[in-house]
């Protein structure tokens, strides 16, 4: 039984949570249950808490999060497909005292943009790469991604991904962790409230390391795609835990001691 609270009653209550001012009023275009909106929110919460809104520039990818710049109330650039880390590299070289991050999906960062990802990390560009891995191309309608699991059905692997035709899922975080240029490489997820809290901590650390000029930080987020996976949001998060996490386990892959 719910009762509307009066203004006076509201006054007496402690505010335990409010949406960050750094998310715009534009309604997310993401599907119900999609991890993108959570990661967008976390990024802007971190930027707000660190007080670096005026000093942060984001680079959006091509993919479901192509409109990321509509939601984040900071200066942003929209990059060509796969090139966000090259664009972010240049922004940071021009504005070395600013915080720069790219936000990319698995098709963008791990397929068409693999060369840019690897060389950005290998140069140790002092930026943050946020990598959303949901094992599918969401925006184009559910095609196979480089991170698609073996056996997983997509519109371009209708009988399930096989090694014979498509090789193995690529583990980008493990790859970039081998470069001397990376400082902090972690894999997190967004399928439970606890996971979300860990992810936020990782993002906060990455911005702090950028302030210290430590090198490339890489935060992979194992995420979901209820629409592409043909599941309800709850099913998708369970499926993520049972199928994605064994191959893409969460935790720091490379972190300062």
């Amino acid at each position: 039984m719910e009762q509307e609270l009066t203004a006076a009653e509201l006054e007496t209550m402690e505010c335990v949570y409010a949406p960050t001012d750094l998310l715009t009023d534009i309604r997310f275009h993401y599907c119900p249950g999609c991890g993108h909106s959570v990661v967008h929110r976390l990024l802007m919460e971190v930027v707000e808490e660190l007080g670096i809104q005026e000093n942060t520039i984001g680079v959006a990818p091509v993919g479901c999060s192509v409109f990321a710049y509509n939601y984040m109330d900071i200066d942003m650039q929209e990059a060509a497909h796969g090139r966000a880390s090259a664009v972010a590299t240049a922004v940071k070289r021009i504005l070395p005292d600013k915080y720069v991050f790219s936000y990319q999906g698995d098709g963008d960062l791990a397929a068409i943009g693999t060369a840019e990802t690897i060389h950005t990390a290998n140069r140790g560009e002092n930026i943050l790469l946020v990598f959303i891995n949901n094992a599918i191309y969401g925006m184009t309608g559910g095609q196979m991604a480089p991170t698609t699991l073996l056996g997983m059905k997509t519109t371009t692997s209708p009988a399930g991904r096989t090694v014979e035709t498509a090789g193995y899922p690529i583990k980008m975080a493990d790859i970039v962790a081998t470069f001397a240029g990376t400082y902090f490489v972690t894999r997190q997820s967004v399928h439970t409230p606890n996971a979300v809290r860990y992810l936020k901590k990782a993002l906060t650390k990455a911005f702090q390391y950028q302030k210290e000029g430590r090198g490339t930080c890489f935060v992979e987020v194992v995420s979901n795609c209820p629409s592409g996976w043909k599941m309800t949001p709850v099913q998708a998060n369970k499926w993520l835990e049972q199928n994605m996490l064994p191959l893409y386990p969460v935790g720091d892959i490379k972190a300062p001691k």
């Binding site: 900071i74 990059a79 090259a86 922004v91």
Partner: protein, 362 residues
């Protein structure tokens, strides 16, 4: 002019970029223009330029996008195959209306082709080499001096129109040494405000977004209309060309870049043989000097277009002439360069045909 030096075209261009206040260069080695990257990696860095050797031309042009979006005066350079790789990025830069300089020291194609000079990239440069309706301002130098001069002009034009500007040279202009004098130029006095740049959003303004994405077709059409209006304005204000001995000319040779230098010599030879011929040298390939060519077509009897390709600019000359006079073509391809004698011979064929037709008419 105290500052005369003997320099390679590529190095003169690079030196001009430093003097023009270019803040950043992103590029990838490719013959015959690697001296630009090498010169800037040494001299440029010593004089404060950000110089990054990227992993590819694709990365280079997207770094140009990022740096231009962050408000910097920025450039890249490459040669034909590398410029092909950049086309997607150039389309994005034109779509997002970012100022920058792109240098193509072109070589013979198609494919891997050759490293010798060519003008085979005229279509790609002037017709919008990537996807969508866009144009670059294209400047065609014909000497080492112009390799330097046009850098200053290119950066200013790019800023004025928020549009990428291309310098379309060739391997010979890049490699040859000539004397060059650098103009007096204070970059500070040429700085324009860039309130649209992504430099971090203060609370006092709306956020700045650099994008070419406008998913609503009504909005995308409006942006296209605005871009077309901008290109029309360029056509009204920025056309540049050189005329040589056209005042009394009965025939015209039209050529740009290295081909124009060869044609200039052919004009001298033909004049010595008693043929009244003049040279039109387009300096801006876009916007193209159609009006002057049309005006001259009204008082001449024929035109010969000379290019180092299979015949590309000749199409624009024919559009400008619009059937008023016959337009012949002479070209060499694949890195071969015509001699003045070959051009004079081609002109003689045009003249003979014209005289024969003239005789028939009586």
């Amino acid at each position: 002019m105290s500052d005369i030096q003997l320099m390679k075209g590529n190095e003169a261009l690079a030196e001009a970029a430093i003097r023009a206040g270019c803040q950043a260069y992103f590029g990838y080695p490719i013959t015959p223009q690697s001296e630009i990257l090498e010169y800037l990696a040494d001299e440029g860095r010593q004089r404060g330029m950000i110089v990054l050797q990227a992993e590819s031309e694709v990365a280079s042009i997207n770094m140009v996008y990022g740096a231009a979006g962050a408000g910097a005066r920025v450039m890249t350079s490459s040669s034909s195959p590398g410029i092909s790789l950049m086309q997607e990025g150039i389309s994005y830069i034109a779509g997002a209306e970012l100022p920058c300089l792109i240098v193509n020291v072109s070589r013979g194609g198609p494919g891997l082709g050759t490293i010798q000079p060519s003008q085979g990239d005229y279509f790609q440069a002037t017709k919008g080499g990537g996807h969508g309706d866009y144009r670059l301002i294209v400047l065609a130098p014909a000497s080492v001096q112009e390799m330097a001069d046009f850098v200053f002009d290119a950066f200013d034009l790019a800023d004025r129109y928020r549009n990428p500007v291309m310098i379309l040279a060739d391997g010979a202009l890049g490699q040859m040494m000539e004397k060059v004098a650098f103009r007096e130029y204070d970059p500070e006095q040429h700085k324009v405000p860039k309130p649209w740049a992504t430099v971090g959003k203060p609370k006092s303004r709306e956020r700045n977004i650099i994008t070419s994405l406008h998913i609503q077709p009504e909005k995308m059409e409006q942006i296209n209309l605005r871009l077309q209006e901008k290109y029309r304005t360029m056509g009204e204000r920025e056309v540049r060309y050189e005329l040589v001995e056209t005042d009394d000319a009965e025939y015209l040779i039209v050529g740009y870049g290295l081909a124009a230098r060869i044609a200039h010599r052919a004009v001298e030879q033909a004049r010595a043989d008693g043929i009244k011929v003049g040279l039109v040298r387009p300096i801006t390939l876009f916007p193209f000097p159609s009006d002057i060519i049309n005006t001259l077509a009204h008082r001449t009897r024929g035109a010969l277009v000379v290019e180092m390709n299979a015949g590309q600019m000749v199409e624009d000359v024919r559009l400008a002439v619009n059937g008023l006079i016959p337009v012949a073509f002479y070209g060499r391809m694949g890195g071969m360069v015509a001699s003045p004698e070959e051009v004079t011979a081609a002109l003689n064929v045009l003249v003979k045909k014209d005289v024969a037709q003239h005789a028939e008419a009586y």
